[in-house]
Symmetry: C2
Subunit: 753 residues, 2 copies
């Protein structure tokens, strides 16, 4: 346990680093009074939304926490000690009563939910403070603007990662050492933390995603199309809501998404470590995921610090380049950390898991390339869509759909290779007494944790997006010089790429983690049925329970997306109505003599999007429970493990199918939504940049189809369609997939007769 001190060290170092970054950003010049005026409207709108959103979520969370207490306390049978008896894993005395289990799970849920909410709140506080400072920096230089916006983003990135690490390790410490429970059962007791985190993430991402795109689509439709005024024009009452939306969707939403990814996957990996710990007696296997993440934080701090250095060495060129160099440095240092962690903690089996971790780090890098290929104007897919815009919006949409469907192939193949590769390496580890199956699944967990080592860096780049987007809007609305707008525009384009990258990263981590989270669920079922953790529990796809459960899982993914996309439409309609009303009732707005009531538009958007997030959220939480209960009581399939037959298994079997096959459907559909949206967005930008050239009537000469042409109008349609796909449905699906894992993990006893 030589490396265990790293966990608090890295966690607190990350907090200090974030505080230093925050101090550095906040001490800078906050811009002209006009800039500060716009920024303060955004700040107030964002904070008011967040407060209201968190109040709604808090009510839902408290109800859920009580439900967890009653369900787990009521239907579970308590937790027994897990002991190793002559190489076999068995269950000993009951050490936690069922009501105690319910209480601990419920508390963990609340702690996880609170930590997630806190990290979203603080991160966003700094992010909406950074926008005007970035706008101000942009009046001076590009490199200063990059520094401010990236540091603002990094505050969020490091806080989220630190809170997840400290939260998981802290609650593990309390539940094991302080409450005196055996270390082997503590990971099972803290699963509520993961569920709490995904619960908040689901609503944060849904509410934020609906808000941001409804405001965006609404502002565009009523401003650009109806009133014929440009984007971010101060006469548009919805324009502040649009800028608020960037923060609550991309910043708070994605932060919560990655917080729960890291937490849930960390806890799942610890559960898988229990088998190896019980057999070998080395607690290292349980705390390994925490240590590996600590190394990741240190690597990311170094990489982040180096970015300004890379930026200074570069003269001109793409601002993306120094960010990419930083990411490569983080990856390289992560490999070193992985080497130390596996070598010190894993004994003779270390190199098998070292290579598993390498696969994870490599998968992260692969997704950077895949996402850029499919969503950047430099390659075939986006150009193809831009080209199809020449024949109108219909062909733009058709070609975009074809491209989006195509992108699922590279994603699925990469995830498939990473899963098979890390499973095979892990199963070769040959730890005495541990079945190849268990160490194989642990291999996929190490790959997942390896990939997540760079999470803070990715999240910083992601939050960079809304900050620069906001800075652009503030520059426009405050009448800052043209040169500043050029700088914020170039940063905004980079922000679009980094936002797309984060989504690819989130999908990949969901895919890699599917296996480990599923196995954690099965371990929970085994624990509940007194099946030794070393036995394989077959989930037979040829039974009607698993198959129909899977059918319901894929259907859930589609229906959930339907509700999320529809919510954007209904909320946007409310915004359009309000802006129209303001134009109608005060003609001075259009003339530029009176100022529109931005606050009212912000308020209406907030209320409508919070109402709209409830239905898809409840569907996501309710459907696994409903399917599990229906199958539990309607059917009575049997499962035979090691010669013992377990009757009445339909409930947890159907949930297994739903979880696993729903995850596959969710990953693929999210990939489609994210990438097609990004590609449509950049096809529009490609045309706006004057890159679409067609043969003109004059032979040998080319004509440019730029802004304002019919091709551009067609591309705008595609971009608008892509908005709810890529910023509402896609990101919410990542969270849904993980929520399926955590909810089934926590409520497993409910599905077992």
């Amino acid at each position: 346990m030589e490396l265990i001190w790293l966990i608090p060290a890295a966690g607190f170092a990350a907090v200090l680093f974030a505080l230093w970054l925050a101090w550095d950003v906040l001490r800078r010049d906050a811009g002209t009074p006009e800039m500060q005026d716009v920024a303060s409207m955004i700040f107030e709108g964002a904070m008011a939304f967040l407060r209201r959103q968190y109040s709604t979520i808090a009510i839902l969370a408290v109800v859920t926490a009580i439900a967890i207490f009653l369900i787990v306390g009521g239907v579970s049978e308590g937790v027994k000690e897990i002991i190793s008896d002559k190489g076999e894993i068995k269950y000993g005395d009951k050490v936690v009563s069922r009501w105690e289990e319910g209480l601990l799970t419920s508390i963990a849920f609340i702690v996880g939910a609170a930590a997630s909410a806190l990290s979203g709140y603080i991160g966003m506080y700094i992010s909406v403070r950074s926008n005007s400072r970035t706008a101000s920096a942009a009046t001076r230089s590009l490199s200063e603007a990059i520094t401010v916006s990236l540091r603002g983003g990094a505050v969020s990135g490091f806080l989220v990662v630190a809170l997840s690490l400290l939260g998981v390790s802290g609650i593990f410490l309390v539940y094991s050492e302080i409450l005196g429970n055996p270390e082997s059962i503590a990971p099972f007791l803290i699963v509520g933390f993961g569920f709490g985190a995904s619960f908040v993430a689901l609503f944060a991402q849904l509410g934020g995603g609906i808000y941001t795109k409804a405001a965006d689509v609404g502002a565009d439709l009523v401003g650009k199309i109806e009133a014929g005024i440009p984007e971010d024009d101060p006469r548009n009452a919805a324009v502040v809501a649009d800028l608020v939306g960037d923060n609550v969707g991309d910043c708070a939403g994605r932060g919560a998404d990655l917080f729960e990814s890291m937490s849930a996957e960390n806890i799942g990996a610890m559960i898988l470590g229990v088998v190896i710990y019980t057999v070998t007696g080395n607690l290292e296997w349980v705390v390994f995921p925490l240590v590996l993440r600590s190394f990741g934080i240190l690597a990311t701090m170094a990489g982040m610090t180096a970015v300004p250095f890379f930026a200074r060495r570069q003269t001109g060129g793409d601002p993306m380049t120094p960010l990419n160099y930083g990411y490569y440095l983080v990856s390289l240092l992560s490999v070193a950390g992985l080497f130390v962690a596996t070598k010190v903690m894993m004994g003779d089996a270390w190199y098998w898991f070292f290579f598993c971790g390498l696969i994870g780090i490599g998968t992260g890098i692969a997704f950077v390339y895949i996402t850029q290929y499919y969503t950047s104007g430099a390659w075939r897919p986006v150009r193809e869509i831009a080209d199809a815009s020449r024949t109108g919006p219909a062909t733009n949409i058709i070609t975009g759909t074809a491209v989006g469907l195509e992108t699922t192939a590279a994603t699925a193949i990469t995830i498939g290779l990473a899963l098979v590769g890390s499973f095979m390496l892990g199963s070769e580890a040959g730890i005495e007494g541990v079945p190849a199956f268990s160490s194989g699944v642990f291999g996929t967990a190490v790959a997942t944790m390896g990939m997540l080592m760079s999470a803070a860096y990715i999240l910083s780049m992601d939050t960079f997006g809304p900050i620069t987007d906001n800075a652009g809007g503030i520059t426009e609305m405050s009448g800052a010089p043209e040169s500043a707008r050029h700088i914020t525009d170039s940063l905004d384009a980079v922000g679009n790429t980094t936002k797309a990258l984060t989504k690819g990263y989130a999908v990949a981590s969901a895919g890699l983690a599917a296996f480990l989270l599923f196995s954690a669920y099965l371990d929970k079922v085994k624990e509940r049925l007194d099946i030794p953790l070393t036995e394989e529990l077959p989930i037979d796809l040829s039974t009607v329970d698993v198959f129909v459960g899977g059918l319901m899982g894929v259907m859930l993914v589609f229906l959930f997306s339907s509700l999320a996309i529809r919510a954007v439409g209904t909320t946007a309609a409310k915004i359009i109505e309000e802006v129209r009303r303001q134009f109608r009732e005060d003609p001075g707005i259009m003339a530029g003599t009176s100022r529109p009531d931005y606050g009212r538009a912000v308020d209406i958007t907030a209320r409508a999007s919070l109402r709209a997030m409830v239905a898809p959220g409840l569907l996501a939480v309710g459907m696994p429970v409903a399917v599990g209960l229906i199958f539990r009581f309607a059917r009575d399939a049997e499962v035979t493990v090691g010669g013992v037959t377990y009757p009445d298994s339909s409930g947890w079997l159907a949930v297994s199918g739903m979880l696993m096959i729903g995850t596959i459907g969710g990953i693929i559909l999210a990939t489609f939504f994210n990438n097609v949206g990004g590609a449509w967005d950049n096809a529009k930008k490609y045309i706006e940049a004057g890159m679409l050239q067609v043969p003109s009537g004059d032979p040998g000469k080319m004509e440019t189809l730029g802004k304002g042409t019919d091709a551009h109008k067609a591309a705008v349609v595609g971009d608008t369609v892509g908005d709810p796909y890529k910023d509402t449905a896609g990101p919410s699906l990542h969270v849904l997939v993980k929520l399926l894992s955590t909810i089934t993990l926590v409520l497993a006893p409910l599905f077992i007769s």
Copy 2:
């Protein structure tokens, strides 16, 4: 075996009935010389395409047949007798050598492919002969036009069903009685028939689907949008290609689709019957599916004959009503047939399976309602899309997508209920010596066969669609009176509904059949591994092989759709180029003084769409083989059944995951494509009919947003986007799902070490 005579009787009765219908249609007035002129151009174009398409398919089929012979002959181990020994099913002596098995499978493949091609050819021959006769009848009366078009469609419907019934029963007879093989192994030997049928169906549906939508989209874009001339205007060189497309896509394509559905599911059901036959000694269990389908044919003949009676009793109103009455009559008579068949053939267990069959018939009726609800202008979904068109094409697409995603819920729940219900009923049957699992799966097979009893009726209604669509085009192009155009327009609207119904029916049958086809595949694996058919073979979803196989399956479904949709775009571009060239080189075309070269446009469409169908077709055939082989050689998972461990099982496990989870993904995605396309189409029609009313400036009064408004233009964009979704990708996915079943069934030995 009292009822066995019904099989040839019903088969030949159906052929005679089809001949009588054909004679009745062909003897009617073929219309004015102008009508006949247009009709003959369509006829030539359609037949030329079909000849060329079948030549391409024939080459691919011969290569595949040789490959099957070499693969099955090379890697199989021949077929052993299946015997019952004291209540246990065991394997006896080898009765078919491996090269013989390869040869028989390969011949069955060729016969299945040829029968599918033949039914497509004959059906389309009559269909393209019926269009001008319908146009001519429309100049006289609505009821005569309905009679002609429905009878024309019924020729195709009855021939397809009869050829499938006679084909499957004929080859079964030859392979068992004439070649002297035991009846218990003959179903395994004829699986090639199903694969041949799906092979032809895949290419027929892909080629036809690409052709029809490329011509449609191309003609619209270059005619309506660029040249500003109406739909079906004779000055548009692509207009005949568009009319040809209706036949080759909807008529030949869907015919092949249902031919292979019926054949493959019939053969799969016979394989499942083998277990019960071996235990009970009653061959009835194997031939039951054939008998049930015979009853279905008789019921359909009665129902079809009654439609003109229903039509005469109705004065005015929706022409859909008599068609619906006919369907209810068919369903009612099918219930009677089901009763007789189960009562006579199934001994004491009859009523369990009677209720299974009832579930199947009920599922068919449920899908009629679901499809109508989601794609007809009378309900909320289509109205919502029409309403969203007011704010432009982007909101039309967003709302349509939300509706389309939503439709998957009703579909999945209905299929799920039917599967669980029929499985539970079947597993209660309590046939001595037959495990509950086997009789449960047989229950889902009976439900599937029950549903397919009405296949001939559904297919007749489907082919009714392109005939009336063509009749409308002929009426327009031949300058027939306005009143005739009104009649063909009203029939065309009905045709759109019946086409949508057929797709829902095809999806539902694919979903219901998933289980039986998968079990047939597992029986084949068991037979190959000498595992008794009564043992359950677990396909463990928690193994990396099954999970990653499933991930690849869902990915295949998405990638295949991408290729199919993209193919429409590239083919449409070729057509647009050609029509532009003709307009440019001969100004007389636009002036109406010279006639465009329709033939060249037809020819170019045919060549381009046949080239475009190859890539998705080869992907569909190649990917299951590739995944199976890669896993077979890269991994070595073990499976334990009844205490015996089977090593090196990764190949067939991965294929299992791909098949089952790919089927789930395919059913859901096809539902989305079919329904969203239908809803967009009817939202456009809803606006064109003047049903979209909005409050006008004048308080209390409503304004109609009809043809030519911006809302209509937005709805046209949605309709165009939906074209390749609903007529290319969606229907091709049904076939893909079944092809996955038949290819894995035939090539199973390849994936087993």
